[in-house]
Point group: D3
Chain length 181, copies 6
């Protein structure tokens, strides 16, 4: 009996931490539904890239064998958590296990009867889409944080200009000790 | 320079004519975006199956090699043709050629600057989703019109019951000479 | 352990057949959620009255004791059957048994795990909202088909004028023998 | 000539201050329309509970006699104040007097020709849904601020877990002299 | 005290009957709000032209003096008659008199307190947008039914092709005597 | 060959800086489409006035000759930048040059093939809608910043009360030197 996993993300942009999660889940499942969340958002500070651009980033980072096992599906927000599980179910083929570290996602799918598993976190301070966007807009080094084809795509589309037009502002990195004091 | 095709359909249900179109386009292109239109519709007479069910029908009909080259993407209707091209563009990775026999689709994408090509029609009286739904609900033979895994899925979900609950009524086939007189 | 029923209707207008169903269900349950469907529709041929007007029709037809046990709740359509059960659940207090004679309603709630029961039909040719609207707009007798307070409300708001403005046209009754055979 | 009042609230959750307002208004009116605002919101920091859950909280706090006089009606936001009065009017039975302390609500209904009255405030620092949510999530005492059946419901559904999953964070009470220093 | 009129139409396409109504209303009012209804519809059989195209048709048919007195405003449908008056009011500057021959429009605005007047009908069998669309798509003479600049626009955009792509089919004129009897 | 400009603004409220931009653009173009953005917003802190009220402000500030050349068109937000250009195009007559100082607007229209030009800034610290709203709500002098007919309209509708009901709070002016350097 094959087992299918479900992973939800916004992938703004797709980075090496995301790729590591995909590969971890592919070890536990036969195949994988990868939901691109907030599919209709783009050109905003938190969601600068269209679903189509994010689809292409993911696609270009996978091997051929992975492409046959990873089903990338853009799903728009409904802004109503009470119907969200039904909404996702209507968009994607049947799945068995939800992989997520978000309390809300885990709670909603678990209440609907799905098995829910956590994934490992891959250096979340570094492999963070927020941090990567900050680095791009601030002119710092970011290419090593994303798969090579994504780096190439982002340079080709002048990602820095896109982020600026989407409302992002250059800032310095938050210091290590930030919350320490 | 790889070339990517775009095909739009509702796939209610996915049948052998659809599969033939996919295989025809894959000969002309490197890969293919397959848009599942009216993605949010289900349980209605014309759209009995959810996008997720249709996704699964298509997936199960493709070979592994095809799965790596066919990008299945459910896209909801916007009910505003004036923004439809932008809407599709925002959901799917970049594409080059639109394959369609619909005048409206051809006209909208052509006006937006895309190359548009026709596809061959595969015995459209027989390989027709409308006809297949009619046969299912009327208790006639239909399994030979869809790929074997789709036939299996439809039987397993009791498609006839779904169609009846969605408002379909059993009818006889329309006679050959229908508009002749 | 108290048992709560759920009944869905459009009540365009509320008639004696609806009231009989409510009273039948109240015998089987402790209390009852009465969903006014298509809540946002009004001034159309099939939905001439607002949810508020329908609410008032129902309220004025119930006894005080019934008012404390019947929870009238207007719910708008979502036009997506795939999320409809979640949608209704989010609007109404928890319920146990769904009373409906519609195949689709029964199938959706049953698939979501609810017990589903049929109700008796109360002379459906006569106690039919469609027939009552036809009679009102055609100047025939209709008052005996609705509870007295509803008849009074409809006369006070000049229901015939509302139906005409909503696009209804006077027609003759469909002949008896039509569906016979 | 019976007089019907209208009260709008979000009831996240329903507390003793809300119940006092209802009882105050029931002294001035024959019956009362109680609108559950933001009906489609749930699982967010400010709106953790569904409309159905809030409906049940209110219902379980009323006496039988009150249930027959209080018409609880969930109404979704339209996010367009320019149509808000028409929107509410379409959902609820006719009403005469709007009870509200919000400047905007008072101004919109007053401009539409309704009589508008203020209600007494019942120790608003204490009987505040925001404060109650803060106490629940922070593990402080809150049960005495809501009617007993609401306290029971909230414990049974593990309200603390719901609030955390909805994005709330434990915080200390804001000091009396709040902005003083 | 200046008086402002309001006229609602879909203008698919704008024809000489519409222009006559505008000129009739301009005799009774100081200026005129001309609402382009169903503004978001286009490329459908009943609404082939975008609001922008219809705007241009109207603009090009008016004299400079009329342009300063006619305020053309596209307004999308809300599909909820219960909020329609508020919806229109929020989009257009204040107006005094509604000119309409539609029962529903007259009833909704009249109930909201507006003065409502009828306009003369200008040979409605001939100056009919439906009839003009039928003639265009069927290859019959139509240019004499629209203002000259509209005829020029429609030819330049190949209106026949647009109508065909929007789903229209060539048909014969309905015979004179059709409704006679 | 006549040239038509496009200007987008929210005009909350319309002020002398806006009027200066219109007059500057009218020198470069034959006529001008003036889009009232966020058309469906009103009664909020950032968008206190309805599109209709803003339409009237603009109309009353133009000369008759200008009214014939300026086409004021309210356009609602779509909240999806990926379809925004198509959305605007569907609402307004054809245009040639977009005048804007917003990076995002310039980038989206430029990518869609339009010529994009900057406009002069007219003392933006003073002729700022944000600053004017602050002055109105705080009881400071503001009438000299808007055209005289706008000042009259705002006084007549008691703009201060509207702003307060919309959630604005009186504040002091931000000090001169704040953003300097």
């Amino acid at each position: 009996m094959p087992v299918r996993g479900l992973v939800v993300g916004r992938f703004q942009p797709f980075h090496k931490g995301h790729l590591a999660v995909i590969r971890e889940v592919l070890k536990q499942c036969d195949d994988l539904v990868l939901v691109i969340g907030s599919a209709e958002e783009s050109h905003t500070e938190k969601n600068p890239f269209t679903a189509g651009e994010r689809y292409q980033m993911i696609l270009s980072s996978l091997t051929d064998e992975e492409r046959a096992r990873v089903h990338i599906i853009p799903v728009r927000d409904v802004n109503r958590y009470s119907v969200w599980v039904n909404h996702v179910e209507s968009y994607v083929p049947p799945f068995d296990v939800v992989f997520s570290n978000s309390e809300l996602t885990r709670s909603l799918f678990s209440q609907a009867g799905y098995e829910v598993r956590k994934t490992r976190a891959y250096n979340p301070r570094m492999y963070s889409a927020t941090e990567i966007r900050r680095r791009i807009v601030s002119g710092e080094r970011w290419e090593h944080l994303v798969p090579a084809p994504v780096a190439q795509m982002l340079r080709a589309m002048d990602a820095r200009q896109r982020l600026l037009a989407s409302g992002a502002k250059p800032t310095r990195a938050r210091r290590r000790g930030r919350c320490a004091r």
